[in-house]
Assembly symmetry: C2
Homo-oligomer: 201 residues x 2
């Protein structure tokens, strides 16, 4: 590619609506965020299965998984975290525009980050899902043994401890995994998501 | 996300085969490469439409288009071009694993680059399509007015002139857009691609 050679060919490509008509579904981005251990990834994986059973094609973009591929060049400094997030949002946008229902699982601890990914994906497609559980509850679950390490001071910027998690002001949906069982949480999410994957008419 | 928090959840996610069964197609990556003006993007866009008409869901990742999103932070130095290519290959891999037929349109001038993207996508999914046209033919077409600029010395590293395009040794498919009409080229490509998008059995 050459410097002057940046001519978008988008006008030659199929309109998104034609892709969506073929798939009989509408592309969307559901952005699941919350503390480590709140249940984001489990919910995203569960939703993927429930959608499949309902005949809806979807994809999960998991912050952790992308670290071993697209984002393997990035570290954990602030600037790299921001770039990590930006790329995930750009990829989610590509998927949604291909007609796939896209679930992102990503701590996304600050309002500023949530606004940045919304700006990339766009209002029409983006829905934010706050996966809510207190630090104490996540610490007790400690699925990955991270909270013990954070408690021992081995992870200085652990979100919720050394590093703040900002509660969202008005999330599209809140799933409180501390009050509901995993099954209830998944059904609540699925019931909210499914209608938004349907084509109008 | 935290440094120790990189635990792939791939085992919780749906196996690719289940996604492909829902979509009734097999994910693949068709990598179209060749000189600027050889017809890559036009062929990719045409293939997208032919596949849609055949009921196959696909996506086009265009080197130029991605420059305005995922790769907007990258310039045209060697290292940035390499990173550009790496990211496109990683994204193509994500799409193929979601069951979509993925066309990439990217000059990819060196064997080394082609080998690098093959290594990322993997043998099973990756098929390389050499879109062949001589420098003279592309210069005569000069759809974007780039060859005139290169001739005037305004683009120092223009591929095929200041910067070499290495002919592939054994491409999976060669589409010679200099000898065939655009319609013939597209039909040749479509006929080769379609069977590979079908599920076995």
């Amino acid at each position: 590619m050459d410097p002057m050679n940046v001519h978008p060919v988008a006008d030659k490509l199929l309109p998104r609506t034609e892709k969506e008509r073929l798939l009989r579904q509408r592309g969307r981005v559901f952005w699941l965020y919350g503390l480590s251990g709140s249940g984001k990834s489990t919910l995203a994986a569960g939703l993927e299965r429930r959608l499949l059973e309902a005949g809806v094609a979807s994809v999960v973009l998991d912050g952790d998984n992308l670290r071993s591929g697209l984002n393997e060049d990035l570290g954990f400094e602030n600037e790299d975290r921001r770039e990590n997030l930006r790329r995930v949002a750009e990829v989610a946008k590509l998927f949604a525009r291909s007609g796939l229902v896209t679930m992102v699982s990503f701590i996304t601890p600050k309002e500023e980050f949530r606004e940045a990914v919304l700006a990339i994906v766009g209002d029409d497609d983006f829905r934010d899902v706050y996966v809510k559980a207190s630090y104490a509850a996540c610490e007790e679950r400690d699925v990955k043994g991270l909270y013990a390490k954070a408690q021992a001071g081995e992870i200085p910027d652990f979100t919720g401890k050394g590093s703040a998690f900002e509660e969202p002001a008005e999330p599209w949906l809140t799933i409180d995994t501390e009050r509901a069982t995993p099954e209830e949480s998944l059904e609540q999410l699925f019931a909210a998501v499914l209608p938004l994957t349907e084509l109008p008419g």
